[in-house]
């Protein structure tokens, strides 16, 4: 209740800010405020219709092996075989160790009678969702000059997904199978009930964005709430704001101050709008000083705000829904009190210019690693013949509280299998991973290393070792062991990962040059070369190890822009070509070491990684005379075989109305191994979007 009150109070505070000019009913100062205040706003409706038969590959209805029956066999684990011998010895009254030690079974000894065939589609039915995006949006912006040097700017953004046509996934559809999908000690809101489009919360249930209200189908935030001060060549902006750096567009090289919010339309919005609606705003102080006519110094200090990904089972989800929504340690890890800061020097000398920048920041993408689920749900014990019951019986036979004499064969750390699993990243429940093959396929789809992830979970969680889990050195061993676990859980196990954040230093430089040539095609091309180097950064380890993967990275971006006219009748077309090379991570910040894994239902393999990611962009627009129509296009080509192509027709009939009709063609299988390119991550997002915007002022 208190939390709700705080939310309401926050909302009221926001509205008060936005409604400040309403005080203008008074005379004098406030009436001047009113007359000088400018309101702008827009209403927008977005409808994206799927043109792809398959649903999102990370959502319940289309995870790998959805429609493939997979045979499973349970095997005897090392610890359990040894433990069984000891149990026999105990029954015989023999001292421990009196019987000869059994050889390590290494999950190679089948348990007779415990084999089955599983098809995840029997539990997670197909969802034929025709619409990806069905959203009403409102943006309102108020600009209030408070004096000669001060301006107050506030912006309210509201997004609402009507029930009609929206994704109606509900976790309760799994019913009582394996006891259903249950939550635990931490925030699991989006996972246990209705699909939730907007809530983005930390492990403690607190919203990541302090200036946001949200629910399952709406969000409202204040992306701008800033006081601007200007005095001569000096200016300062204090408040919630975004900061965009760099000449390059689409592919971010120097644009490091803010994370991105992918909840509303992932990266599939009208391309030419770039990250307008994506940058995560942050309470910040930004100061700029035009120290000479050519040189600008620009610095900021901001509260660290993380990148936000779409929620599980929403149309643009990018995290396999066999996982719970990641537990975000933003608050419990104290990251909400961390600051990013940096500066840049930007010089323009007409035809050429340069930029230098240095930023100390917490990488907003964060590091995902295995996380303790906090969900106390034991292995199923009914009927008594289930493998879960056998394991539970064996587990209960172990001694609790062995202290220093602990070994997983004879001792247990927890009072029950449920308590053990609560202290592990795995949870009994439907809609998780059902087979070893699916494990690797799921890992491959998320650029993870299934073998390393398996071993890291066991190495880092004594609770799993306590439940007879052992390391494996081969894919086949992992498959056998996992199939045993899944059968013991009565179907599938769901995973829990957490997100932590690490500080890093980004150093960057840029050069720009405008060509001059007698040849019109070569004339007035704006060339930009930008590069950043991050000496010590942490990426998500493909094996989901705690602490992430320590590495260094360089990113080089090059772009060329030009206006060119093809005919007398049509205005000039705008063309931009870009190239970016990244040495350690992909466009969304995942380690390249997780690339080149297996895909779809192919046989499990361990990813071998790629040495660099290379992206090309060709984008532009061609207006018609008077710009009534603008034909736009954007192509993102991952040279490892993926392409996102977005053609758009924008119609501006006047009267403050804009209509956009664009198609997103996504193909991560152009050639080669699809897990070598980033586009395959959104391979099922082919869609056509109609967007109608009405602006008012």
């Amino acid at each position: 209740m208190r939390k709700r009150m705080r939310e309401v109070a926050g909302c009221v505070a926001g509205l008060v800010f936005l409604g400040l000019p309403a005080l203008a009913s008074a005379d004098g100062y406030f009436s001047d405020l009113w007359s000088n205040t400018v309101f702008t706003g827009s209403l927008q409706y977005n409808l994206s219709v799927r043109t792809d038969g398959d649903q999102n590959q990370y959502n319940q209805s289309n995870l790998p092996f959805q429609d493939v029956a997979v045979p499973r066999q349970a095997y005897l684990p090392n610890a359990l075989s040894t433990g069984a011998l000891n149990a026999v010895g105990n029954l015989l009254g023999l001292a421990p160790g009196s019987l000869p030690a059994a050889g390590a079974s290494d999950f190679t000894i089948p348990i007779p009678g415990y084999a089955d065939t599983v098809r995840r589609g029997d539990y997670a039915p197909k969802n034929h969702l025709p619409f990806n995006n069905n959203m009403l949006r409102f943006n309102g912006r108020v600009n209030t000059p408070l004096g000669h040097n001060l301006t107050f700017v506030s912006e309210l953004r509201v997004a609402y997904v009507p029930t009609l046509f929206s994704n109606r996934y509900n976790a309760t559809a799994f019913g009582d199978t394996q006891g259903g999908i249950t939550g635990g000690d931490y925030y699991n809101g989006p996972d246990t009930g209705n699909v939730n489009y907007f809530d983005a919360k930390g492990r403690n249930g607190k919203r990541l964005n302090p200036l946001e209200l949200s629910s399952s189908n709406y969000m409202a935030d204040l992306p701008t709430l800033v006081l601007n001060y200007r005095n001569g060549p000096f200016s300062a902006s204090l408040g919630n704001q975004t900061i965009a750096w760099g000449q390059g567009i689409f592919l971010r090289t120097l644009d490091v101050p803010n994370g991105l919010d992918f909840r509303r339309h992932l990266i599939l919005d009208r391309a030419i709008e770039e990250y307008q609606d994506k940058r995560v705003s942050s309470p910040a102080l930004r100061v700029m000083n035009q120290v000479t006519n050519d040189i600008l110094i620009d610095g900021f200090v901001e509260k660290f705000q993380p990148t936000i990904l779409p929620n599980s089972n929403t149309p643009y989800n990018v995290i396999p829904s066999a996982f719970y929504t990641p537990l975000d340690n933003y608050y419990v890890g104290g990251y909400d009190t961390k600051l990013n800061y940096g500066f840049r020097i930007k010089a323009d000398y007409g035809t050429w210019g340069w930029t230098l920048m240095a930023v100390r920041r917490y990488n907003p993408n964060g590091v995902y690693s295995w996380g303790t689920s906090g969900i106390n749900k034991g292995l199923p014990t009914s009927p008594v013949t289930t493998l879960g019951n056998l394991v539970t019986t064996a587990y209960n036979l172990k001694l609790e509280g062995c202290g220093a004499a602990y070994n997983p064969t004879t001792c247990r750390l927890f009072p029950s299998t449920g308590a053990a699993l609560a202290s592990s990243p795995l949870t009994v429940g439907p809609g998780g991973v059902y087979s070893g093959k699916e494990w690797f396929a799921t890992a491959g789809s998320a650029h993870l290393n299934g073998l390393a992830a398996f071993n890291n979970a066991i190495n880092e969680y004594a609770s799993l070792r306590d439940l007879y889990a052992d390391n494996q050195s081969t894919v086949a061993g992992v498959e056998r062991e996992l199939n045993t676990f899944f059968m013991g859980s009565g179907g599938s196990l769901r995973g829990t990962v957490q997100r932590d954040y690490y500080a890093e230093n980004n150093f960057g430089a840029g050069l720009s040059y405008v060509t001059a040539s007698e040849h019109s095609l070569l004339d007035s091309i704006i060339l930009n070369l930008e590069a950043t180097y991050t000496p010590y950064e942490r990426l998500t380890d493909p094996g989901l190890a705690h602490g992430g993967l320590k590495t260094s990275e360089y990113v080089i971006g090059f772009d060329a822009e030009k206006w060119t006219r093809w005919s007398d009748a049509y205005p000039a077309a705008y063309l931009v070509f870009e190239y970016q090379r990244r040495s350690a991570s992909d466009l969304v910040g995942l380690s390249l070491k997780g690339y080149r894994g297996n895909t779809g239902t192919t046989d499990p393999i361990v990813p071998t990684g790629i040495s660099s990611a290379n992206y090309l962009v060709f984008a532009g627009f061609q207006p018609t005379p008077s710009r009534l129509f603008v034909f736009e296009w954007a192509v993102l080509w991952d040279i490892q075989g993926g392409m996102l192509f977005q053609p758009n027709v924008r119609y501006a009939p006047g009267h403050n109305i804009n209509v956009d009709l664009f198609y997103n063609y996504v193909n991560g299988n152009l050639y080669g191994n699809p897990t070598k390119n980033v586009v395959s991550d959104i391979n099922n997002d082919n869609e056509i979007t109609l967007r109608v915007t009405y602006g008012f002022q």
């Binding site: 205040t37 000083n289 600008l296």
Partner: protein, 464 residues
């Protein structure tokens, strides 16, 4: 009395001879003499015949008359072909005639007139150097008033127009633009602030911030409509008129200031606009990026050479409309000496424009009409711009002082940009304030610089 020798065509022939022989401006006396003496009566330079619409129309038209389809033929020879088409064609535009302004000081800003006068008196003269840039008698880059008060060549006329567009060292306008479809229905509406900051060719005679390689910074900030609000462009002109300006822009979707290619100048900046970056003041592009400058003709012509501010809306300064909503109802008057001059976009090989023709008041080198022609030689659009004094605005006859605080402000008043091929119109007027921005006749130079003329300023403007 003057007899046959001074018939209606005599002085027209005289003006043509002036053009042909490359002589200066003035019939009865060189106009420089009038400027030097701070004279206030143009009739000392031009005979009554060139200032009388009655004479020029052979008695058919007098001040106060309305020109429409029924009588336009009687003044066809005094109109540019664009205006004639608008009156005689399906648009059915009308204009009314007022008596001509005879005080040359009222045809430009006071500061520019005074600086021009001082230049003449002090022997501060201009010429074109080897690169066809304006330098003074010592070879220095130009500072002062009109560099060529008595232009003798087309290049000099175009330089006069382009060196200091607004005739102020700092100019800060708000523009109200309505774009109308062929039927005259409003399709788009915009408000934008337009700032010109001359760093050279200043009446202050000192370079601003010592930027001697720049001519001016020109900024446009779109305050409305909501679709474009925040869009801001800064154009940095080099003093060398052979160079295309550098263009920086803040687009709301990019959230940052970026450099943009500036070589394509024949595009509507916003949907619906009929005008191009190249059009305004017949000097949207650096003078020497165009070529083949020619003086086609010199003659008396009708045009909106000096607006009548008493007809404007008291608050907004909007001129009255006429029945056809594409046009303001504005007065035209006779200018005794109009230089009709053309040039071609030789520096823009892919330009859709074949040439432009400007109709320039020889007295102060201000154009009221700039017609561009397409590649087939057909008339494409007419950038009709008027200037005037804010001396008796609206029913209250309020005077708005210019930068010196005492002389009435002088600036552009309205613009018709009409596309003869599509019949679309961009209708603009100099509005007092709109969408949170204000026109300022006394803008502080440093304020204008820091608010509009640096990349940092664009960032603040765009994000506000």
């Amino acid at each position: 009395m003057r007899i046959k020798k001074y018939d209606v065509d005599y002085f027209r022939r005289h003006l043509m001879q002036t053009a042909a022989l490359g002589l200066g401006t003035g019939v009865l006396m060189p106009i420089e003499k009038l400027f030097a003496s701070q004279g206030d009566d143009i009739r000392k330079v031009y005979p009554d015949e060139l200032l009388s619409i009655e004479i020029q129309s052979k008695g058919k038209i007098k001040p106060g008359d309305v020109i429409d389809k029924s009588n336009v033929e009687s003044v066809k020879h005094l109109l540019d072909p664009g205006i004639y088409e608008q009156i005689s064609g399906p648009e059915g535009r009308t204009i009314y005639i007022k008596a001509p302004e005879t005080n040359p000081r009222n045809l430009t800003t006071a500061s520019y007139y005074d600086a021009t006068s001082a230049d003449i008196k002090n022997g501060h003269t201009a010429h074109l150097d080897a690169n066809k840039n304006v330098v003074d008698e010592k070879g220095n880059k130009w500072q002062g008033g009109l560099p060529f008060p008595s232009p003798k060549t087309a290049e000099e006329v175009w330089m006069n127009m382009g060196l200091n567009i607004g005739r102020e060292d700092v100019a800060c306008y708000v523009i109200d633009q309505t774009d109308l479809d062929p039927a005259g229905k409003q399709q788009y509406h915009y408000n934008f602030q337009w700032v010109e900051m001359n760093t050279m060719a200043r009446t202050a005679r000192t370079p601003y911030k010592n930027l001697t390689d720049e001519l001016r910074r020109q900024s446009v900030y779109f305050a409305a409509n909501p679709d474009v609000r925040g869009t801001t462009f800064l154009s940095i002109w080099a003093y060398d008129m052979r160079k295309i300006p550098d263009l920086y822009g803040y687009l709301p979707q990019f959230k940052r200031v970026r450099q943009f290619p500036a070589n394509q100048r024949f595009e509507p900046l916003v949907p619906g606009a009929v005008w191009f970056l190249s059009d305004p003041w017949a000097a949207g592009d650096p003078t020497n990026t165009w070529g083949n400058h020619k003086i086609v003709e010199r003659k008396p012509m009708l045009g909106p050479w000096s607006s009548d501010s008493s007809t404007w809306n008291q608050t907004t300064w909007q001129p009255p409309m006429q029945k056809n909503p594409k046009f303001f109802n504005v007065p035209f008057e006779l200018c005794p000496d109009v230089i009709v001059t053309s040039c071609e976009p030789t520096g823009y090989p892919r330009s859709p424009v074949s040439k432009r023709v400007a109709y320039v008041d020889a007295r102060v080198s201000v154009a009221t009409s700039n017609i561009r022609y397409d590649r087939q030689g057909k008339m494409w659009s007419n950038f009709e711009m008027a200037h005037g004094l804010w001396d008796k605005v609206g029913p209250q006859k309020k005077m708005y002082p210019g930068p010196d605080g005492k002389d009435p402000a002088w600036s552009w008043t309205y613009v018709h940009i009409y596309d003869f091929q599509t019949k679309r119109m961009s209708l603009c007027y100099h509005v007092s304030e709109a969408a949170g921005v204000k026109s300022r006749f006394q803008a502080d130079a440093d304020w204008a610089w820091n608010t509009y003329c640096t990349p940092q300023a664009l960032q603040i403007l765009g994000s506000s």
